[in-house]
């Protein structure tokens, strides 16, 4: 059976605080070569104390701009993650799916907006 490679987030980041998008990018950069080779990856959150959406956007959210949804579902799993962090990650993933599906439309609507005169 194809056992996933375990990528420990706290080890990659160098601690339990996952609160910067820079650190999220480190996680992304670590797992992307594996995913591109078609290898399964299990992201382990053992030792992670605090995680925020900005971190997860960089670590995981941007994958939806690089791979189709079903490919991510096939290759990527998470483990050792708290219920709170599952809830946040789910929101990040749903947001990322919408972002990459609708990006053009979102921005077009605001391009013609003209506000009050300002300095």
């Amino acid at each position: 059976m194809d056992e996933p490679v375990i990528a420990n987030v706290a080890t990659i980041v160098g601690g339990g605080l996952c609160v910067s998008s820079e650190d999220g990018q480190k996680v992304h950069d670590k797992i992307i070569p594996l995913l591109r080779e078609g290898r399964k990856v299990a992201l382990s959150f053992e030792g992670v104390e605090t995680v925020i959406s900005a971190f997860l956007n960089a670590a995981v959210g941007q994958l939806y701009g690089e791979f189709p949804e079903d490919r991510i579902r096939e290759l990527l799993t998470v483990r050792d993650i708290s219920t709170d962090d599952i809830a946040i990650m789910k929101r990040v993933v749903e947001n990322a799916k919408r972002y990459f599906a609708n990006k053009q439309t979102y921005d077009e609507a605001w391009k013609g907006v003209v506000g009050d005169d300002e300095e």
Partner: protein, 298 residues
């Protein structure tokens, strides 16, 4: 031979409350001194009979920006009551006033933290935010509140381009059962970020704020989605019964009990200031119940 012209400016600061009028007054200070370079600014507190402690973060950001333009800033004629507040929270330490001991343990001291120094910000949260009557909560809630503060800090780190970092300051009010904390930068502000992102230089500060506050909207460059931090903050504050105030350039926003109000500031306040007011009497059993298992995330 060219010589540099040095100006000496005196600015009388009025009382500064944790409301729109306080932000208006600090925006007017920023505007009045915006063209000063290599000059002296004296901020005269003789008309300032009250100063909301957390607003020291905003004043710190405004004065920090002035100092970055090679100006010297002095603070004078501070009334005793105001001095007590601003010496206890150590804001005046940077202007050669001695600090006063925070014997009541209700102060979140003024600190300036560089944008890449998450360790120092973490230390600030751990040391000064806990134990100040944060709502009785489970481990889950404790981590939720900390998370929101990190989201705000990281927003500044990603978007502000603030050379001087962020200023943090806060105050706990045991009688009102309320804790106010402000994180302020003097960077480029929400308007410039949004204008750049949408390639529309006509967007006003208020429209930029409206855009930025919508879930999923982010001006982050690069292939990152974003735009959840403020949404999560709103959801938390809605449950908690607290308040969010955001001031950026000419825009001012309040979120309270599900209602959002947008209004225009009296002048251009550089950067962005976010104030979170927490209801510390909240005894909600926070628990981010996820109906989703780990297998269903993607």
């Amino acid at each position: 031979m060219l010589s540099r012209i040095t100006f000496f400016m005196i600015y009388a600061l009025p009382s500064i409350s944790n409301t729109k009028s306080g932000f208006d007054a600090l925006a007017l200070l920023a505007k009045s001194s915006s063209s000063l370079k290599f000059s002296d600014l004296e901020v005269d507190f003789k008309n300032c009979s009250f100063f909301a402690a957390n607003m020291a973060a905003v004043l710190g950001a405004v004065l920090g920006r002035i100092e970055l333009a090679f100006n010297t800033v002095r603070i004078v004629n501070v009334p005793e009551k105001v001095q007590t507040i601003l010496r206890k929270n150590e804001f005046l330490k940077g202007f050669d006033f001695e600090t006063l001991s925070d014997s009541n343990g209700t102060t979140l001291p003024f600190r300036r933290i560089q944008l890449d120094d998450t360790t120092r910000f973490d230390g600030y949260i751990r040391r000064h935010v806990r134990g100040k009557g944060i709502p009785i909560m489970s481990e889950a809630l404790s981590s939720v509140f900390k998370r929101k503060l990190y989201e705000v800090f990281e927003n500044a780190a990603i978007h502000s381009n603030s050379e001087m970092g962020v200023c943090c300051c806060g105050q706990y009010f045991p009688n009102k059962q309320c804790l106010d904390i402000t994180i302020a930068d003097a960077g480029i502000g929400i308007r410039q970020n949004v204008r750049r992102h949408l390639h529309n230089n006509d967007i006003s500060s208020l429209d930029a704020l409206r855009w930025a506050l919508q879930e999923g909207h982010s001006t982050k460059t690069g292939p990152h989605p974003g735009g959840l931090g403020l949404q999560f903050l709103k959801e938390f504050i809605q449950k908690n019964g607290g308040r969010i105030r955001i001031a950026s350039r000419l825009g001012y926003y309040i979120f309270y009990r599900g209602n959002e109000t947008f209004s225009k500031l009296a002048a251009d306040l550089p950067g962005t200031a976010v104030t979170i007011s927490i209801n510390t009497a909240d005894t909600t059993e926070y628990c981010l119940n996820s109906e989703v298992s780990a297998d269903e995330i993607f």
